[in-house]
Symmetry: C2
Subunit: 366 residues, 2 copies
């Protein structure tokens, strides 16, 4: 029985289907948001150190928190908790938020990162949605809906849209948070991968910023992320929970993150330059294929329009060995998400296969 | 202001107070259950490998799961999920259990590992307790209480008692689990640290075994643990949750765990020999000081009786620079827990300080 036939039996219902695939057997993966670049070479120093194998502070290693605090104005090392990637930061933040007073609802911008609704529900809260308009927050709708929630989740640059919110919008959200005492969780894992202006970091007494080393330093597998907030009470509650749910984040990953942060800043610039080129390539390519698509401003995703997105995902994978994600998983039916975290030669090859696939389906793009 | 005065201001209410302390400033720590031994040298191979920095399977790396499946009869690699230490395995197991049918109650043996009641409550369930009798499960009480719960949590060898359950008791629990369709979570993180007989692994269709590489291989800081169960449906639910709460467990730690498992078995034997010597030393020493104490049979903890345990913890730390844990944190008031995971010279020095402390407090031992 061929691999193809074995695979063909399984329907594709979530990104989990693809995690760990790609890169092999001639598959071109526009799937997982995983940089194909390599981490700074500095991180391989000092690994043979027994200290790295002992329990560490639940809050995270002091040297890492000190370096991080210099990246954010008015932050001190006491404001940070180092976590098993941004995912754990999000999970812990939601679970602590669920214990805070206020309605058990969290406002999400749709399309959203596919885990967000699960994170909210896993903390026994309910997600409510505001639909993006031309890829950006519709402030009128947002202002109405924020009145009835405990927290809002902002993700700019956004996965899956690749869009960056206007600074004025982000400032307006800061004001609303202060005025209504609503929490803002700002997932900024793509803050360093932005092609136009610099990132604008949302600030305020009820802002919880989430970030990770995965994307900036190409270290996804190590699982080191963090959250920080000016509210030290909230920080303590996160620590008090994490001691029971996972204890310290792996110390070796933290040590490597320290080394990565001390690597020359040219590392990040060089990365952004590469992403920029790839962005231009895939945007142009998708346009030439006839896709309606918005030009990404950050992160490394693009979300073109196409009908029957579930069939597209399935046929592209089983017939053309191309992985793309169904927009439906991100609250964007009739779209597919492509990550362009892969080499230009692979992007070109992948676009060629998509062209083949589209031959008799031009009307799916209308 | 001296360190002592600064510290004196803070009351000591939980083990978190001490995590990351000890080993410095002349402090002798009988606190955290952290081996002072070093991991097998084999684990330092092949670290400079970019594959270790990419996302991996949420379920855990295949080579690690294959090695693990050989350690358990009738297990296959599909039955395992690799987690951020046993803590995350426990947290995920509880959160998935909370979605299964049955009463939202979990039976714990008291004294218990201090996180257990939190793990149950963090999953929106309620802990109920059966009190150990002479350090072992009271089957009469256990049989009555198991009727009204969804799951029981067994921890043999036990933290904090150091006791090992009778094989007949464990077999009885297997029968009850089958008959009543109650889940058994068997936390066996100390399964390799046992001084008399071999460990007896609890088996059955509703048994979830939790273990970690922390204690056996002195790798606490790396945070690699796992759960396994014959119920593949349950395994899938854990994976479906973990994709949102932390994604894969850090790949480098998994690679090192593979290397540790392939190290010569003499490594574990040598470790157990060292723990055995230390067990004998501390047991004899505590007896000589007049403590009423049970002889530990596994793990590296001992739980002697002493009145005013909270004051004992506080005075020993602030006046004698000795860390011990309050039994109250483990559901055992009027006891203190000592970890003997430290060098014999330190154990001797620590016992000497405790002797000083006890001079005018002999009646606290009655």
């Amino acid at each position: 029985m061929s691999t193809k036939n074995k695979l063909a039996k399984k329907p594709i219902n979530s990104p989990s289907f693809f995690i760990g695939r790609g890169g092999n057997d001639g598959i071109i993966s526009f799937g997982s948001g995983q940089p194909d670049l390599v981490p700074p070479k500095e991180i391989f120093k000092n690994l043979e150190n027994n200290r790295l194998f002992q329990y560490g502070l639940i809050q995270g290693e002091l040297n890492l928190r000190q370096l991080l605090s210099k990246e954010y104005p008015h932050a001190s090392c006491e404001n940070f908790v180092i976590t098993n990637g941004a995912s754990e930061a999000l999970d812990l933040a939601m679970r602590v938020l669920a214990t805070e007073p206020g309605p058990q609802k969290v406002l999400l911008c749709r399309p959203y990162y596919y885990s967000y609704p699960f994170n909210v529900r896993l903390a026994q809260m309910e997600p409510v949605y505001t639909d993006l308009q031309d890829g950006r927050i519709n402030l009128k709708d947002f202002k109405e809906k924020i009145k009835h929630v405990k927290a809002v989740l902002i993700n700019s640059p956004s996965n899956p849209t690749g869009m960056v919110e206007e600074i004025n919008t982000l400032k307006e959200i800061e004001k609303l948070s202060r005025k209504l005492k609503v929490w803002v969780i700002s997932d900024e894992v793509y803050k360093d991968l932005i092609y136009g202006r610099k990132n604008y970091i949302i600030k305020g007494p009820r802002v919880i910023t989430i970030n990770s080393f995965s994307k900036t330093y190409a270290m996804c597998g190590l699982r080191v992320g963090y959250l920080w907030t000016p509210d030290k009470n909230f920080v303590q509650k996160v620590i008090d929970m994490k001691v029971h749910t996972s204890m310290n984040t792996n110390i070796m990953g933290q040590e490597m993150s320290v080394a990565a942060m001390q690597a020359p800043k040219s590392y990040i610039k060089q990365q952004v330059k590469i992403w920029h080129q790839r962005r231009d390539l895939i945007y142009k390519g998708l346009n030439q294929l006839g896709f309606k698509v918005r030009k990404p401003e950050g992160a490394f995703y693009v979300l073109p329009y196409i009908k029957n997105s579930n069939r597209v995902v399935s046929e592209l994978f089983y017939k053309y060995k191309v992985i793309v994600y169904d927009g439906t998983w991100f609250g964007a039916p009739d779209h597919i998400r492509l990550s362009y975290a892969l080499d230009v030669s692979k992007i070109t090859e992948g676009l060629g296969r998509i062209k083949e696939f589209l031959k008799d389906k031009q009307d799916w793009l209308d």
